[in-house]
Subunit: 223 residues, 2 copies
């Protein structure tokens, strides 16, 4: 019987490839969190499609209302515009949702403690991403200490970040190599029908496929 690993699956490219990596060695449990973001429904569909693809039985889909209530991010406050184009600086972009990953991982830890999972896979990338503070290796390293201290002595849960030092083009290649269902993923920050191709997230994705020399299998508006 394989060890159980929880994968945080937003439905995007990075989490899909992370699931493909976890699938090589673990029995999968998928966690998805709705948090009032603009593309909540479309991301949930991507999650379900990827979960079906990997025939995942252990699924937890939950909703957090407070991140939208609190605001402070262009993903949850619809009055703030979504940044367009590739990031122009190393500054933290307006799409940063305050302390978001801490919530997602904490849900995985609570769930993992009950279903006896031993790993939590998250598709965070440190260098080649949007510059969110809660995507850095040091953050996850400290979080692992917090899990050890904050759970039952017999609980053995560890965060695993298999793509943290990859470039996004390498993630695309890795996904293709592992047969990850990239055609089922959703990355666009602002549309739910067809990817806009212009927002920061679409632009980072398109650049990654271009650099990898692979055609992005999803359609884009005006392309």
């Amino acid at each position: 019987m394989k060890t159980l690993a929880i994968v945080l699956v937003s439905g995007g490219l990075d989490s899909c490839v992370t699931a493909a990596i976890a699938n090589q060695s673990y029995q999968l449990a998928f966690l998805h969190v709705n948090y009032g973001q603009r593309t909540e429904k479309r991301e949930l569909k991507a999650f379900m499609d990827i979960a079906d693809y990997y025939k995942v039985k252990h699924r937890l889909v939950t909703s957090l209302s407070f991140l939208k209530e609190i605001g402070g991010s262009s993903l949850t406050n619809f009055k703030m515009p979504i940044p367009q184009g590739l990031p122009k600086s190393k500054d933290i972009p307006s799409t940063y949702v305050p302390f978001r990953n801490t919530h997602f991982i904490a849900i995985a830890v609570s769930w993992g403690e009950v279903i006896k999972a031993e790993k939590i896979f998250i598709g965070a990338m440190e260098e080649d991403s949007s510059g969110y503070p809660d995507c850095r290796e040091e953050y996850f390293s400290i979080y692992n200490q917090l899990i050890t201290l904050g759970t039952r002595p017999e609980t053995k849960i560890e965060i695993v970040t298999p793509i943290i030092h990859l470039k996004k083009a390498q993630v695309v290649k890795k996904g293709v190599e592992l047969g990850a269902p990239l055609h089922l993923t959703w990355s666009c920050y602002q549309r739910e029908d067809i990817a806009c191709g212009r927002c920061e997230s679409c632009q980072l994705r398109l650049k990654a496929f271009a650099r990898a020399g692979i055609k992005d299998p999803i359609p884009y508006l005006n392309q």
Copy 2:
């Protein structure tokens, strides 16, 4: 203008006294989380009463559905009995809710990052409490590192645990000394109309008042 501090207020004795301590030096913001526990409604009333007492304007009341879905605790799984009487061992009791404090503090951090709070007060007690792993000083120390790493560089939020090394009888005395509204608090784990006086939480509270030589201002069943 005083610095803003978020206080995690469950509505129990410890968080009420913690609020009284924070009130000495800070402008208060109160956070309360419903998580499907048995006495959810009564605890929320206690929260509101204490918030009114301190005339707190910044209030966030939110609900987490997943802790009950996940289960694993007699506070959220109503098929599990609530332990009666004082704890008989140092084991983690069935009332432990997996990784609960991590969620509560993470909500405070997300909120604090937006409203620019600088402190998060939590009424955790290490030695003289129920033996929950997420109530230890070392846990909060690591959590402070996680906050520094996982938020914007300009965010300065620190967890403060003013009663972590107090005995519960000292907490009662401190509360009386500071004029904390102990008559508005709720500690019972199993009833919402009148405190049972028998569950672990009631027993710890009654013992603390007895040791402090102070009459508990709330009524109990059969007393």
